[in-house]
């Protein structure tokens, strides 16, 4: 006889607590309570009657005993008391089916995963009829595919439905999960069976000690080489120039010569031949110029055992230049300033050619007031006072900038003060508006965020290209800051890379603020991430296109390459290997919990019938026999 759910100590502890509680409640119910009354004269006749009742109550310890017995029986039911020897009870096995990237490798006998499935199926056939098995698909995560079950149909279906994943095997997590599952099952622990090629990403993982570990190894082919990473970065100086890097590795034990073919948008680059020693990895770099969107494909020629890491694809966006429509009567003055910024594609128009929505990202309005408000982000220089997009409070003459609001990115790098300004418009400021520069009378450079369909607007209340200001470095910096604020996407540095599924990292620049980092997948769902030491860390268990954005940077992680584990796991010597002998059928222990639960409920019901119900009957009888007290009270009052 043994408990399935609780140890003897746990059972006795719980029984002690419950018994103590019931006894305390019993004694509390019968404890004398003190009560101050106005007089004792009416109690004396009642006391005589109650003493008899009190003596009767002294015999009610049977009520307590029955309650304790009922509770004990219910607790035995919860503890799942079983009749028979524990050894005769079936065991609970955990079958770890390796579905990591290596399981997709192909050998002469078929894919590794198919070999694993056959081995797992054979193992399930060897276990006893009363044994239960939990199938766990183990890759980067350990995911149970079944509960503990002895149903061969359910097990077969779970094994057959397993597919290869892209992540590497996290063996430590899988074994820990298996141990926990066995301890929680409440049954007699059986084997923890690992079925797979024993390929792990780290040479010496810290694994829990498992005495009941059994290995069903599946031989994995050794001749693999593949692409570990491919990344593309846009040149800082020229947005149409891209630098691509492909990292290839030789996983086999023999030297390999790789023929790497790369193409972009149908244009094939010159193939590269890379010689790799066993275990060696090399980087291959490409530089190309394009302003169109397209796919960058890197592919290793020939076949090896693992095909999924022989090809990597990246999708590149079109040119990142910002188009600016400039409406000005003095293009010769503005042209040197705007053309110096290589990220801008500037088109000059006469003010008479104004349209509210030109084919551009930003509109610059130089000393003019358009007949209709702009419908794209707009940048104003010294607008006429009457038609200014921001209300002008006053016009001041012979002034100078007193402060640049450098606490935001808008004022970054702007420090020059005391530069004389012949005339400046001082704007009113409203909720949401941001002052960039102020003179003594108020803001003279101000931005207004987009709201209610109104596009972003930046306004300079003086002519920075007139007077001393045109010789200051402040002027191009101010233009750059305002243009960056108006179209931040266009100024982001773009990085795109393809990497293995699983844990991914991306280093942040020191200028990037962690609180501005956002990580989303291809469906624009947020992905959980952490930032440690200016590095974004995230995890995906399936191929995903991850987008990491921050202040002025945008990265794409194409986590579509398989995470190929490089090392072979050397199992502990105590681990058994191979299939067990066919286990015979033993008479299972008898489960008693249903009977115990019924008995416990019955005892509590009997106690209630004898004591609880009788008390209710007595109360009803006394209520029926006693004259209605309220009626008497009314009688006393009314007379």
């Amino acid at each position: 006889m043994f408990f399935l759910n609780l140890s003897l100590g746990e059972f006795l502890g719980l029984l002690g607590v419950i018994s103590g509680l019931v006894t305390a409640l019993y004694l509390l119910d019968r404890a004398k309570r003190k009560k101050v009354v106005s007089t004792l004269r009416f109690w004396r006749p009642a006391v005589t009657a109650d003493e008899r009742q009190s003596r009767k109550r002294m015999r009610e310890p049977w009520s307590l005993l029955l309650q304790l017995l009922g509770m004990a029986l219910l607790l035995l039911a919860i503890a799942q008391l079983q009749w028979g020897a524990r050894g005769l009870r079936g065991r609970d096995h955990v079958l770890l089916l390796d579905t990591s990237a290596w399981s997709a490798a192909r050998s002469a006998a078929g894919t590794i995963l198919n070999l694993e499935k056959r081995a797992a199926q054979r193992y399930v056939g060897t276990i006893g009829g009363s044994d239960r098995v939990l199938v766990v698909r183990a890759d980067g995560l350990a995911a149970p595919a079944t509960p503990f079950t002895s149903s061969s149909d359910q097990l077969t279906k779970a094994i057959a439905g397993s597919t290869s994943q892209y992540s590497a095997l996290n063996l430590e997590q899988a074994l820990s999960f298996a141990q926990q599952a066995q301890s929680w099952s409440g049954g007699r622990p059986g084997d923890i069976v690992y079925v797979g090629p024993r390929r792990i990403p780290e040479p010496d993982p810290t694994l829990p000690k498992i005495p009941n570990l059994r290995l069903l190894p599946v031989a994995a082919p050794r001749g693999d080489r593949g692409i570990r990473r491919i990344s593309v970065k846009r040149n800082e100086d020229d947005p149409n120039t891209w630098q691509a890097t492909v990292l290839v590795k030789n996983y086999s034990t023999t030297p390999q010569v790789i023929h790497l073919n790369t193409q972009f948008a149908g244009t094939v680059f010159a193939p590269r031949v890379v010689s790799l020693a066993p275990g060696e990895e090399k980087t291959v770099e490409y530089a190309f110029v394009t302003n169109v969107a397209g796919q960058l494909i890197a592919q290793i020629e020939g076949q090896d055992s693992l095909a999924s890491d022989d090809r990597a694809v990246l999708r590149l966006p079109r040119s990142g230049r910002l188009t600016v429509a400039v409406y000005t009567a003095r293009p010769d003055v503005l042209k040197p300033l705007l053309d110096s910024n290589h990220r801008l594609n500037v088109n000059f128009y006469d003010p008479g050619q104004y349209i509210p929505k030109p084919a551009a990202d930003i509109m610059l309005l130089d000393q003019m007031a358009p007949p209709a408000p702009p419908q794209i982000a707009n940048f104003w220089i010294d607008p006429p006072r009457e038609r200014s997009p921001l209300p002008v409070r006053e016009v001041v003459k012979d002034t100078s900038i007193k402060a640049w609001h450098s606490e935001s990115a808008l004022g970054a790098g702007l420090h020059a003060t005391e530069t004389p300004i012949p005339e400046a418009e001082v704007f009113q400021i409203f909720d949401g508006d941001v002052a960039v520069a102020t003179v003594a009378e108020g803001p003279v450079v101000e931005v207004r965020p987009s709201a209610q369909g109104r596009p972003k607007a930046a306004v300079i209340g003086f002519d920075p290209l007139h007077g001393q200001m045109r010789f200051e470095v402040t002027t191009p910096l101010l233009f750059a800051n305002l243009l960056r604020w108006l179209a931040p996407e266009s100024f982001r540095t773009l990085e795109i890379s393809a990497a293995p599924v699983g844990t991914a990292t991306a280093a942040l620049d020191p200028s990037e603020r962690p609180e501005h980092v956002r990580v989303t997948d291809e469906r624009r769902f947020s992905i959980p991430f952490t930032i440690r030491d200016q590095t974004v860390q995230l995890f995906t268990s399936r191929p995903s296109l991850i987008r990491i954005t921050s202040d002025d940077r945008e990265r794409y992680l194409s986590l579509t390459l398989p995470d190929v584990a490089e090392f072979e796991w050397k199992a502990p010597p105590a681990a058994r290997e191979g299939f067990p002998a066919l286990m015979g059928f033993a008479a299972p222990a008898i489960d008693l919990w249903q009977w115990l639960a019924v008995a416990g409920g019955l005892v509590l019901f009997i106690e209630w019938m004898i004591y609880g119900r009788r008390r209710i009957v007595v109360r009803r009888k006394s209520a029926a026999s006693a004259p209605p007290a309220r009626a008497h009270e009314r009688e006393l009052v009314s007379k």
């Binding site: 309570r33 003190k34 004792l40 009642a46």
Partner: protein
Amino acid sequence: MAERLIDRAFLERLERLTLHWKNSFNGLVGGHNLSHFAGPGQEFLDHRNFHEGDDLRAVNWRAYMRLEKLFLKMFQVEPRVPVRLLLDTSASMIAGARPGEPTKFDYARKLTAALAYVGLVRLDNILLQPFSQRLHDPYLCSGGRHRFQPAETFLRELKADGKTNYLETARQYLENYPQKGLTIVVSDFLDDSDCIRPLQYISDFGHELLLVQVWGGEDREPSGKGEMELIDAETGVHVKIALDDEARAAYTDGFDGYAAQIRKLALRNGGRYVGLPVSMPIEEAIFGPLVTGGSVQ
């Protein structure tokens, strides 16, 4: 500023009421109760023959001119009947209230204040007489509603303490107040010794009794169940009992029987009895049982 026992709105309602009593007291009557006795007054009662020494101002000179005989006009007397309010201030008055209910003492003080105000408005002489083991210092007020404020202050400053001793109280009462009048006793009448006989003595000496019994919810229908230790609020005596529904019913029977005895005593002696649970609002008590019972009208 201490909280008032009665608010102004209630006082305004009380101004319509008058204290009433059944008996006529020889030589004494309140302004609102007719007397069968002759004496100095405004209302004509009868004629009698003139005797030497009679007041010539009461001679009916018209009758003398017609009949040449001296007849004296007699009038109804209109002296003030003393109204004495005996307020129980024993410790039992602060026991027996259920949660949310006022104590009997608070309830009795408010009721006493209301009755005193009714009397003052009608220019009755009101004596507020607290008692427990004996009579405590009284407070006499008369002369109209403006004398109510000190009376209320007196009531507010009373404290409930000590045992009840009706026998000693009655003895002192009869000794101190030989002049008959209306005696209103506001009490729970829960004295371990007998209160029937002392009250009978007071009545026997010609005082008209208006017995107002107040009780808390616990006084009449005690709550709780199981083993209990009961402590008498006045004597501190402990009694251990096992309380159940039967015992509770027996207790309530005992209480009701006792209240019936007090009521019987009042009615037998030409007085009145009113029983008031503290759960009944004071306003309802005044305009309900006290008005319908004829104690105030």
